[in-house]
Amino acid sequence: MRQRNITVKKSSGSVTDVLSVVICMIAMSIIMMAYLNSIQLLNTKSEVSQLARKYILRMETVGYLTGSDKAWLTQELNTLGISDPDFSGTTMNEVGYGSPVILSIQGNINGKEAIWGGGIFAVVFGDKSHPFQEIRMSTAKN
């Protein structure tokens, strides 16, 4: 059987051959991180709304936000990453049947923001606070 010698010639490569792929991968990574951050912020705000709903129903039956409920609510907000929530405007003293009860929660939701650090490739994600206010009004059924 006749053997054939096959000579493989390597052509010279260049970084520009993969540059476009690398740029696309970096861009996709940045977009995905920004997307995930947006989803996380929406989820956190949604959970704060659910907490407000739960505690306004409790306030309906009692007539105000009790001290223990306030402590529990603060703890649950801290678990969501909201530190030092402000309850100004919340009904803290008992009211009679049919009187309005208000729950007001103000705070900051911590997220990430893309920061251009200089140059095409210098992108970092820095911390950013997003202020929010959640207000619920109902009437006391105590």
Binding site: S20, V21, I23, C24, A27, M28, I31, M32, Y35, S38, I39, L42, K45, S46, S49, Q50, R53, I56, L57, E60, Y97, G98, P100, I102, Q133, I135, R136, M137, S138, T139
Partner: protein, 186 residues
Amino acid sequence: MWNKQAGKIELAAGMFLLIFLIVLLAAHIQIIGFYTTSLYMEDALAASNLASAIIDIEEYGITHVIRIASPESAYEIYRQALKTNLQLNEDWENDDKELIAGKVTVLQYIIYNVEGDDVTVYHFGEGGTYSHYKAGSLGSIRTPDGRLVESTSVYSRIGFPVKGFLDVEVYAEKEKSVDIINNGVE
């Protein structure tokens, strides 16, 4: 004489994928934004309906009948509670216009007062038009969103514009009925 150079298909493919990913994720974020808005409006409606359900406790103490004593004041309480729960200004608009892009309108507010087997309906329409009538016997009346009236209930429907992708404005409606005995639990 023209010399053709070798092309780079990966550049075009990469740009296509990038743009496709951006559009896909932007659309997904918009969908989640609409879903969050829907939940937020539903919560606000349920809370406002329950806030307006002020029963006559003296009558309840005597006859154990649970009915909303004054439909007119219940409607006013509902409007005030809705305005607070949606953080609307005096023009019934949201100041930041991020979720609700324009004026919120109360399209319907209906009270179903149940006394024994009788159901009396108090209906407030758009602009506050009012009517009341005996609707029939218990077990045969349903709210406009399909819920069977089993005890005194409140139904409401609101309309509002929502701003979507590329600032396209869409008019949306949201309705909610609550049974004041079950406290809105379905």
